[in-house]
């Protein structure tokens, strides 16, 4: 009898532990709130179109800890943030990730932009103003405006004001230089692996390869607009003698 009771106690304790660990892992993973996979492929060129294709609610994990640490480092108050409501936004037109953390003030939301491991912490203010309009202002943590705009009842935007803000400028510069470095590395890789079109098996294939290559170069595109005949004549001349053993 005693041994049975002991076993049931051990089993019960073990089950509770499994449930606890499952619950903990559920809490620590991000929860998907919204996703439209079609938006990932179809990127609208209009900036005001919806570019958010995925929203996640952050779980109690390292990612949330990290953004919390960044927010605190930039001067956000620990008690002011509602970390349980932190959300992560994915955009289809940029690699920048946006995090939003609600605050105790319903008119304020902490916004973090992350790109290449760099963070920019801002505070979004959303409050009613005269004429039934709502004013949205984004400020850096030193309380300097970054931009503001007004929304009417039909959510139409107006009175957009972009302010000079050194913090935003330097963040933009840092992200831009990182992105440029990556792109130039890609270009170099593409360049080094680019096939010499004269190595194609025939004249026509060399021409196809060259024209295809030309469409990837803006200089070539510009020249094709100004002097298409001369350009193609030059291509045609250089493709004479094309073949697998041709000189490159």
């Amino acid at each position: 009898m005693l041994s049975l009771a002991g076993m049931s106690l051990i089993l019960n304790h073990g089950c509770n532990k499994v449930e606890e660990s499952q619950g903990a892992s559920r809490e620590s993973t991000n929860i998907l709130i919204y996703e439209d996979a079609s938006l990932k492929e179809q990127v609208s060129s209009y900036f005001y179109d919806n570019h958010i294709y995925r929203i996640e609610l952050l779980g109690a994990n390292r990612e949330r800890e990290e953004i919390f640490r960044e927010a605190l480092a930039e001067g956000a108050e620990e008690g002011f943030l509602n970390l349980e409501g932190a959300q992560k936004f994915f955009f289809n037109h940029t690699d920048v990730i946006m995090y939003s953390i609600p605050t105790l003030d319903p008119e304020q939301t902490l916004i973090l932009y992350e790109s290449h491991g760099l963070y920019q912490v801002s505070m979004a203010h959303f409050r009613p103003v005269e004429g039934g309009l709502m004013k949205f202002t984004l400020k850096t943590m030193d309380d300097r405006d970054y931009f503001s705009l007004k929304l009417d009842e039909q959510n139409r935007m107006g009175d957009l004001r972009i302010s000079e803000n050194e913090k935003i400028k330097s963040f933009n510069k840092a992200v831009n230089s990182l992105t440029l470095n990556e792109e130039s590395q890609d270009e170099q890789l593409k360049g080094s692996s680019a096939i010499c079109c004269r190595k194609e098996s025939s004249w026509s294939e060399c021409m196809e390869c060259t024209v295809d290559d030309c469409s990837g170069s803006w200089v070539c595109k510009v020249v094709a607009m100004i002097a298409p005949a001369e350009l193609v004549a030059g291509f045609a001349a250089s493709c004479i003698g094309a073949g697998p053993d041709a000189r490159c």
Partner: protein
């Protein structure tokens, strides 16, 4: 237009076309030649744009002169 200006004027067209032809010729020779090809295509396109602008100005003036006589 004196002969020096005439030579300068037509040289924009000739040099532009030559640059583009050489640039386009070098283009399919692979990434090593691509820098030179791009440079020549760019220079040639620039020369042709200058020629087109001068050509437009010259013939507009000529048209006005013939209309005036």
């Amino acid at each position: 237009m004196n002969s020096y200006l005439k030579i300068k004027f037509w040289s924009f067209l000739v040099v532009g076309v030559i640059c583009i032809l050489i640039g386009a010729y070098l283009y399919p020779f692979g990434p090593d030649k691509r820098v030179w090809a791009d440079f020549l295509l760019f220079a040639g396109a620039g020369q042709l744009i200058i020629f087109a602008v001068l050509f437009f100005i010259r013939y507009r003036r000529k048209n006005r002169e013939t209309a005036g006589t």
